[in-house]
Symmetry: C2
Subunit: 385 residues, 2 copies
């Protein structure tokens, strides 16, 4: 096991009607900006509940944060924050609203060109406006971590940053708020969470037994509950298990002391930036190919995954690994997410342009060994067609 | 799944030589009191490392906190804290030093008789001196939670309290510091952590799949690694896995949204208070009897435990449950901990006195259903002979 530091100070309020505790989580004299997305929180009544919970407090709002939140949109919110002297941000929505709100929190307090904060380590961020969230879409884990992914539409860049200063103060997780999600978003969320776990699990063994067991438990839960969420949208236990899995998948816990991969995400980001594919779709397309392409380096963990997650114990090692890769792809398809680029109308003609973007973003040595070159990425994109 | 709030703000610094980060975790102008136990931290050099790390800072010390830390001892430290205007406490040791330090932290700032803070909910505690820890014995999980257990020698009382104000600010967990532990303490620690998990797992199903999987993963890890720690004291990976399991076993994570038992602990506390048995010994004696005594109420979870933790899938349900109970007892014995009261020279003559103490401490409706009466407790003690 490698050395690590774990710090997850976000207060999680999980369950039915936890919104009734919202008022106690925000400073009573705060000037609050509620941020949200395309308006689903208006239609499903969650925004009304937030306003009721904050009755009498100083509240304004900024709506319209899109999926894969855009720098151009967020900068308008930054201006509003500065003009209205906002000192607390409340994200009401899913991962995109949360990520966008983290950018707003950091950019509003940043001197200079805010796009400069988009660096992996985020070391340029020395302070941020405090924020909390009311989550409506379990997927990204953003509600309990220090990261965010932002897209700049004008240049087609999708990049991430991390800073402890944007770690949410609290997260209200009410599984009932997820009942009204469209099936496509449910599926994307489950697949996103699943692949978050895989990025931190499917590398090479370092004898980190707790982390491995936790990761496997999350994968098993998502496999069991994901399809049920599509079939029984108002099954509370199913929604609760998915919501908790998604938070645990990316709050730092299972990354403690182990190598991490994230190559699938990096290749997926370019697909979203260039073609507007859903984040979950890009991951479902890339991961099975990545598993196949790196099957030698990931051999030991692939066998462990086959046995413990898919109960594949018979046949040769290669057969078990083939079985695990097929089962993974089948799970995504079962969730209603297609797993080939041609399913999304792509013919490979933009692969050279995506490889250029990868290089521009410094993504030339990807994976847990840093051995995935642009040439490897080309082969992976091609195999994903 | 039940509603819950999870808040674990303790910063964990895990791994080799994390002591080099200690200085950054303590306010630079703090007046620090280092607390420790019987002197093993002097013999193994950990205390020297702490002093080196804090060179030039204002540091004094209080040693002699005993296993099952005594109110009478701790009140001397409270006096020292007040006299020296200490404003940061650094616990260097195991769970007893940590628990004792939590009591010092709360009592030093408490007006009135400090024994009054010993209430389950600790609502009388409104502030405490901040504290951190350098852990040397993985077992109690006290390094990342808000609880403490204190014994009053003069009256034979062993009671616990909880307060968010005594949650440690940080915990330095270096597995190498555990190499020199005597086998008895290693065994007690593994069994203690194991039974912490069981108290939060072996109740009744509430469809909390993540929590169940996490709990099972911790149990499996302790079963795999515990005996190895006795055989290979300087196996870093083994020590690291045990240390991380023990912290995860009682930091609130696996208790989220599920019923909890704790009856084994309550019955065990009286054995320690009256007879001075090690905490781990008392748990190893009581738990197998508790599993048998409550096998009907715990039926579903016992079957799940048998299948997932011990891989018992054949035979009747009763046979699998019998097998799981026997395997549990065998694991404790394999760790070198005897599992019958007679192994510790007890003949049952003090059971009436222990039952009186249980009643005095309000422990008359124990377990996840609150249905373990004093009469049940008597039968459990008798069956444990």
């Amino acid at each position: 096991m490698e050395n690590f530091i774990l710090h997850t100070p976000t207060r999680v309020l999980f369950g039915k009607n936890q919104i009734s505790n919202l008022r106690n989580e925000v400073p009573s004299d705060a000037r609050i900006l509620i941020t949200y997305g395309g308006g689903s929180v208006k239609r499903n009544g969650v925004l009304d509940k937030v306003y009721s919970a904050l009755a009498g407090m100083h509240v304004s709002e900024f709506g319209g944060i899109e999926p894969n939140p855009a720098y151009e949109t967020l900068m308008k919110a930054v201006e509003q924050v500065r003009n209205e002297k906002i000192d607390f941000l409340l994200a009401v929505g899913g991962g995109s609203v949360l990520d966008g709100t983290k950018f707003i929190a950091a950019a509003a307090d940043y001197e200079g060109d805010p796009w400069n904060i988009m660096e992996t380590v985020g070391s340029k961020i020395t302070r941020a406006i405090p924020l909390g969230s009311v989550l409506t879409l379990p997927a990204t884990g953003s509600e309990m971590n220090a990261g965010a992914v932002i897209t700049r539409r004008t240049t087609g860049d999708k990049q991430h940053f991390f800073s402890r200063h944007v770690m949410p103060k609290f997260a209200i997780l009410d599984p009932e708020y997820t009942y009204s999600l469209p099936p496509r978003q449910v599926a994307n969320g489950v697949v996103d969470a699943f692949i978050h776990v895989m990025e931190q699990y499917l590398t090479y063994p370092v004898d980190a037994k707790v982390q491995d067991r936790f990761a496997e438990g999350l994968l098993q839960t998502l496999i069991e509950e994901g399809p049920k969420a599509l079939q029984e949208p108002e099954n509370y236990a199913v929604r609760a298990n998915i919501m908790w899995s998604a938070t645990m998948a990316l709050n730092g816990l299972i990354a403690t002391g182990v190598p991490v991969d994230w190559a699938t995400h990096m290749l997926g980001h370019e697909l979203t930036a260039m073609h507007g594919m859903d984040h979950g779709q890009t991951l479902a397309v890339i991961l099975p190919v990545m598993m196949q392409y790196k099957r030698q380096q990931k051999h030991a963990k692939l066998l462990q995954y086959a046995e413990r997650v898919w109960n594949l114990r018979d046949g040769s090692e290669d057969q078990r690994i083939d079985g695990a890769i097929a089962a993974t792809r089948n799970f995504f398809e079962q969730m209603g997410i297609k797993t080939h680029l041609r399913d999304y109308g792509l013919d490979g003609s933009t692969i050279p342009a995506m490889l250029e973007k990868l290089q521009e973003h410094g993504m030339t040595a990807l994976g847990e060994h840093g051995d995935i070159t642009p040439e490897d990425s080309r082969k992976i994109y091609e195999a994903a067609l």
